[in-house]
Symmetry: C2
Subunit: 388 residues, 2 copies
């Protein structure tokens, strides 16, 4: 099978951009990706675009054609994918399928989100549409509270401590120090994390990712196209997986496991013909520190109950055997929701091809990205490999 190549990637700075619209952000990210790819904009056959809360934050739906225009390809078919925080992970997955099945040779994929203009309360309310409005949101559930429930369930079932969660936050802040696109380029200590205000016990402020504006883009091309056009695109997307689960936490059998992610990982590994032992590096969806723990177990890097101490033990730090979230993760790099899934592909591509500030921490040629929606009711997992 022909595997799509990532021929170019682009990001905006992740952070606060109150004066910039979503289309403005996506125009910048897509321009960078096109320049990096070295492909002519006229060759782009379609746009796969992820956005989550545009109807609420910018009174703007139908962003497919709008963002195609922002990217300079106004006549191209363009589709918006929405799967909460996994929106542009799904956009990537559909692009991978289209390229490897010969439906398209050159696809622009990406996402954007504008959040800070809503303020903190407004953003919390907008994010809540990723949960079950009838049975969770109206009962007062917010996402910090939901992930706090998952953390408590994890602690109850397997043990774990707030210190171990803090080590994850410290690691991800440390990873972001040299990442110019990151919202936070400042170190934090375990003590600072533990002393930060509690937002939903056992999660404190430093266990949560920030509110972020930003955009991401990548150009995927077929093997044949890359070869014919002599493109320098050493990173291939060799596996894709998607999993689902019941929407509301109350309807699930487990709170301390994420079966949607387990299913996505299993499919992606089988698709790529690899196993978790082959993976050198991963970007996972750490919207909260506990989410990184759940992700590492769903990806089968650790048995249930074992990942909580991974950062504290130094196994997932930049000097560890399998560094996790070398970009800084959602925690420190930021989480512009609809942009995050493609952003992980952008970061992994840079890490694997050697032009990321943290590329020197990568000890192999196989990376995985994990993008989760809501309380992991939807997940995509992708495998990226160097294929020179």
């Amino acid at each position: 099978m022909s595997h799509p190549r990532v021929s170019g990637v682009g990001l905006t700075h992740f952070g606060k951009h109150p004066e910039r619209t979503g289309r403005d952000l996506f125009a910048e990210a897509s321009e960078r990706a096109l320049e990096d790819a070295g492909v002519d904009r006229a060759t782009i056959e379609q746009l796969n675009y992820g956005n989550f809360m545009g109807a609420l934050s910018e009174h703007q739906g139908h962003q497919g054609p709008l963002m195609a225009e922002a990217a300079g390809i106004p006549d191209a078919p363009a589709t918006r994918y929405e799967s909460a925080c996994a929106s542009s992970g799904v956009a990537v997955r559909e692009a991978v399928k289209d390229v490897r099945n010969g439906e398209a040779d050159v696809v622009l994929v990406g996402g954007a989100e504008r959040m800070n203009n809503l303020g903190t309360a407004g953003t919390t309310e907008a994010l809540a549409i990723a949960a079950d409005d009838l049975y969770e949101v109206r009962a007062g559930m917010t996402f910090p509270a939901a992930y706090a429930l998952m953390a408590k369930a994890y602690f109850d079932q397997y043990g774990g401590s707030r210190e171990e969660l803090a080590e994850i936050a410290v690691k991800n802040h440390d990873n972001a120090l040299d990442n110019e696109y990151a919202q936070y380029q400042k170190p934090i200590s375990v003590e600072e994390a533990l002393d930060a205000p509690m937002i939903a016990e056992p999660l404190g402020l430093f266990d949560a990712c920030p509110i972020t504006d930003g955009a991401s883009a990548a150009v995927l091309v077929s093997d044949e196209y890359a070869e014919t056009h002599d493109l320098d695109a050493p990173v291939a997307l060799t596996g894709t997986g998607q999993g689902g689960d019941k929407m509301a936490l109350q309807d699930r059998n487990y709170l301390a496991r994420t079966p949607a992610a387990e299913r996505a990982a299993e499919e992606a590994y089988a698709d790529a013909g690899i196993g978790p032992q082959d993976v050198s590096v991963a970007e996972v969806h750490d919207c909260f520190t506990i989410a990184e723990v759940l992700a590492l177990e769903a990806l089968d890097f650790y048995a249930p109950g074992e990942a909580i101490g991974a950062a504290a033990r130094g196994e997932t730090t930049r000097d560890g055997d399998r560094p996790i979230n070398l970009s800084g993760g959602l925690k420190a790099k930021g989480h512009p929701v609809g942009a995050t899934g493609t952003s992980q592909v952008v970061e992994m591509t840079r890490l694997l091809r050697g032009d990321h500030p943290n590329s020197d921490a990568v000890g192999g040629e196989v990376g995985v990205v994990h993008n989760a929606g809501g309380t992991v009711a939807s997940t995509t997992v992708h495998v990226l490999e160097v294929r020179t």
Copy 2:
């Protein structure tokens, strides 16, 4: 190439359901589709779902997993597609590609929309997110006004009259008389249409589709699956096309043509290996009467300027050579936005396989469905054929 078969279809009644949630509506439509298909729910591999304004009408995003649960397949990967009024047309397209490329053998596709709970003013404001918020909506543009501009441009360029538009409304109301799912099962006259209140000159109230709650679903299976499981599924989806265009009317070169639909039609015809002359019957996106005219020209059933009189001449009525919108169309059957694209596939399947109240008006075995987003900034076109 293997063409997906439509093995089962289901609809709710289209109309006012203020007491029913989106998930409730989709549960009904998907249950009907599964029963009609005669496939076990456990064999469904994924849900492709279209919804447009759920964030505004039900404070509910992330509807993929929510609707998978409503359909009784909570663990299946589920994706929401949003392309304004073409949302579930895009969901169909992606399902067609997945089935014919071997990514899945059994896919549930559908859509739902709840609108009446917003009231007329609220719905108008919510529908506006399908237009360019910065450059159209803030200038006061509404969809009736936008289509009125397109109608005026058409009249200026090619000629045409309000009477000819009224004939389209009369035809579509007539077609809906026996359709139990239709919002309006009542005849109207040209005089009534012309006497109705003007909403945006030259469009009167009877030139516009109503505000509708409803859901649609279809089960697509591979040829091989249908054969192996001895399914009675004579209708195949043999062609798919998608087109894009600039979002705002002001940025386009023409207001009286719809290039996004022209591109989608061209692709779908080529994909199916047919031409417009082979098409016996079509369901087109008549959100306003003028939209049916533009659709018929984009599908190349008529040269530019020729479709305006088609209904008046009796060419597109149920006794005509190529009946259009035998379901009643969006105009009389109703337009629950996210459900419409799949609903057109549902109606065409019933028309072609012979169990639609208007099947006797179908004079051939090739049908086309045309689903447009916004002011036709996005469009999907599909070809359905009887393949016994």
